[in-house]
């Protein structure tokens, strides 16, 4: 519970930071998604027992602040969080590699869901151009930020969940 008192407000701050600052610094038309990166990094932490509340909160907050249907970020974050938990148990010694891999998968998943929703809604969306000017630049930004975010989240997890020492 004490952990959630830190992580949920931190996610809210990240959502605000993403909306107010990062969305104004695009690469072509893609922007970084630090909430997604936080969720992946948090889900990959060995000491974190359950990460789905953060995934759920992050998805809902992004859905609330964005013009998107709330289900898009919610589904994407929960899915990538679950994938991170699954991957953590199998490749626990290479978590930073998993961070990059899941950043790649998570960005593609989120953008695919967003693009699919727009197309289903009847909006003309040239997929090739959208991939070239939106998804690829966003992927580059997310991969650039993945390592620093992972390091910060690992420190946060170490601080919030210190290792128990038997005396």
């Amino acid at each position: 519970m004490r952990v959630r008192l830190v992580t949920i407000p931190l996610l809210a701050l990240l959502v605000v930071f993403e909306s107010a600052v990062l969305s104004r610094m695009p690469l072509l038309h893609g922007t970084a998604d630090v909430v997604l990166l936080f969720i992946i990094a948090w889900s990959l932490q060995e000491r974190v027992q359950t990460a789905w509340p953060e995934n759920l909160a992050g998805g809902m907050m992004m859905g609330f602040i964005s013009a998107y249907n709330v289900l898009i970020p919610l589904l994407a974050y929960l899915a990538v969080g679950a994938l991170a938990r699954y991957a953590r148990r199998r490749v626990w010694q290479l978590t930073i590699v998993m961070m990059f891999a899941l950043t790649f998968i998570g960005t593609l998943l989120l953008h695919s869901l967003a693009a699919a929703t727009r197309i289903v809604g009847g909006t003309p969306l040239p997929l090739g151009e959208a991939f070239r000017v939106v998804t690829l630049p966003a992927l580059v930004l997310n991969l650039l930020l993945a390592a620093p975010v992972y390091a910060l989240v690992r420190d946060l997890a170490d601080w919030l969940l210190p290792e128990e020492v038997e005396i």
């Binding site: 993403e18 909306s19 969305s23 964005s66 998107y68 953008h111 727009r118 969306l125 959208a130 939106v134």
Partner: protein, 282 residues
């Protein structure tokens, strides 16, 4: 010779010489002589004074360094304070210019009521083009209200909360606005795109559209008030086998630097969807 009798004469002579020198001095006759006599004295005095001051500075330097350091710190603090004031004033000046331009815009369309709002964020998703403003339903905002800036049309209010609102920009891929071109007076439909570029479709083949033509809202459809500037035609594509012409548009609003906008609060968008005929089942 009696010394007592010579003394008054000597004194008188000296007094007369003294008086004579004073009179000559007052008359300016001794100036060249005085200059010659005083020059070495002045030079010597200057030399001595400089050395004295140097020695005094050397002897009192540690105390002065402390004072200077303290004074320097005070001045640096003052400079920092003044610089922050300059930045604040520059920011206020920028806001003032924007507000003055917005006021000019409001004067151009005096029939409408306006509410100014600051842009506080952008939609984090790159597939949509929305901005957040710091006014909401508590300020009287409603869904569908048009949003303008000092340059022209920005978009319209899409979602409202108590103290914030989401504005759909005209660059959003979902947007389609009925527009009129000037001076050709042709009607067209403006659409956004995922890249933020806006273009015109449905321009009649017979319309003579040229780069540089102005794009204004037509008011058709009832979603936006008429005659609000959107942009300028930059290129026209005409193909003889197409039903309509298309054109690219350069919006007048710089959406990357949007900071303050005006919401037109007394414009009621018309919902025409009930009037659109639906296909009847056979």
């Amino acid at each position: 010779m009696n010394p007592k009798s010579a003394l008054p004469w000597r004194s008188i002579t000296l007094a007369l010489v003294a008086v004579g020198l004073i009179v000559l001095g007052l008359g300016g006759w001794l100036t060249p002589v005085a200059r010659l006599a005083l020059s070495p004295l002045v030079a010597a005095q200057s030399w001595l004074s400089e050395r004295y001051q140097a020695i005094q500075f050397y002897l009192t330097a540690p105390r002065d360094v402390n004072e200077l350091m303290q004074r320097n710190a005070e001045l640096e603090a003052e400079v920092a304070h003044l610089q922050s004031q300059i930045i604040e004033l520059q920011q206020q000046l920028g806001e003032y210019r924007v507000l003055a331009a917005l006021l000019d815009f409001a004067r151009t369309f005096p029939d409408y009521s306006y509410l100014s709002a600051s842009v506080i964020g952008r939609d984090p998703s790159p597939f949509v083009h929305y901005v957040h403003i710091d006014r909401g339903s508590d300020d009287g905002l409603r869904r569908g209200m048009p949003v303008v800036s000092q340059q022209g049309l920005v978009g319209r209010v899409a979602q409202v909360t108590a103290n914030a609102a989401l504005v759909q920009l005209i660059t959003d891929p979902e947007v389609s606005i009925n527009v009129r071109l000037q001076p050709s007076d042709a009607d067209a439909v403006l659409t956004g795109s995922v890249t933020g570029d806006v273009s015109l479709t449905m321009i009649p083949q017979e319309a003579k559209v040229q780069p540089g033509d102005l794009v204004l809202t037509s008011g058709l459809g009832g979603n936006y008030p008429p005659n609000i500037l959107i942009g300028q035609v930059t290129g026209v594509r005409t193909r003889p086998f197409d039903l309509f012409q298309s054109a690219s548009v350069q919006p007048v609003v710089d959406f990357n630097r949007l900071s303050i906008v005006l919401v037109i609060t007394n414009f009621q968008p018309v919902d025409v969807s009930p009037l659109i005929p639906t296909p009847q089942a056979p």
